[in-house]
Symmetry: C2
Subunit: 223 residues, 2 copies
Amino acid sequence: MPSDLILYSYWRSSAAFRVRIALNLKGLRYETRAVHLVRDGGEQHAPAYAALNPQELVPTLVDGERVLTQSMAILEYLDETHPQPPLLPGDAAGRARVRALSQVVGCDIHPIGNLRVLQQIGTQFAADDAQKSAWMRHWVAGGLQAFETMLSRSQDTGRYCHGDAPGMADACLIPQVYNARRWKVPLDDYPTILRIDAACAALPAFHAAMPEQQPDAPAPAPQ
Amino acid sequence: MPSDLILYSYWRSSAAFRVRIALNLKGLRYETRAVHLVRDGGEQHAPAYAALNPQELVPTLVDGERVLTQSMAILEYLDETHPQPPLLPGDAAGRARVRALSQVVGCDIHPIGNLRVLQQIGTQFAADDAQKSAWMRHWVAGGLQAFETMLSRSQDTGRYCHGDAPGMADACLIPQVYNARRWKVPLDDYPTILRIDAACAALPAFHAAMPEQQPDAPAPAPQ
């Protein structure tokens, strides 16, 4: 297996953020290649990148000759090729729970509020910034409420989403919480999510994956 | 493992359709409990169903004491608990490819055109039927184009999405093709998808999972 991992990433992409967390949890070194999603009409649409990723989305992970797309599929791949520490529990019921939690975010929250969807409601419905914010808050709040319910009534929830070690569901949740804060979604109704977010924030693997820590993040505004 | 499987389903739901295909491919018997997504404001919002599925979405699969949500997580669960015939290939790279194809549909096409999203663009932007159709065609066409590209340039594509046996990616693709036809998305530009759709249609497992074959499908209009 070649050891040179290349991650095509954008600092503020939730999906790329998930993969950065997983790479860090596994202790894998990787090279970041930044794909700016807005500049020049979106570098993800450049022919060289579209040849790697026909969806013209980030992230893409290149592992030697293998070109991997779709963040949750990449997390599964990393867990299979680098099993320690595991991102998924050892039992089928536990894995089903962690995958379902991950997909609540990865299927039913994040894609509906993705940059390209916000651009489309702007183009098709002339949505202004306030309407885009309302759209985001609608989907993020509804999705996080379901996530909170799934966490709060399960005895499988521990220090993290599933037991006392961080895993795939945490790698999906934390970028969504970051995104919710960006869109000023109130989080007070989700105490379990906030508790897990704080636990993850204390881990170097999550901290190093934060958008502001990425090489392509803009420099902080001068004081 | 209890053998009584109960699928909470809606005849025209793409996500429930995926699970029906997988159950049929595995040769598993199950009981259908219909959840009507429109009648009475949506039976998925009834308290008894919301207690099973906090997202208030279909499908939910009940396997004895286990309550499983999120269709792609359910497909993985069925593949782990009933390994034959497999829905995923045996190698990590192949599994990554099949999961990525599945997620192109399950994350980036279907959720953006889900019933609840169409309802929201109606509520928030007063979208009429023509605008809802344009919205659907935009996301379905773009997504299927990427899917077609991923299929057509890979040597792993066979009679089905991955090799010569049907699997998870087919279980995700075929309901999306059905949905595309419903919304009158032109499919002529996707010859590989059309070829695989025809191959799947010839299989009893796919035919029996079709919306019109479900116990909750409306009766055909009288001649």
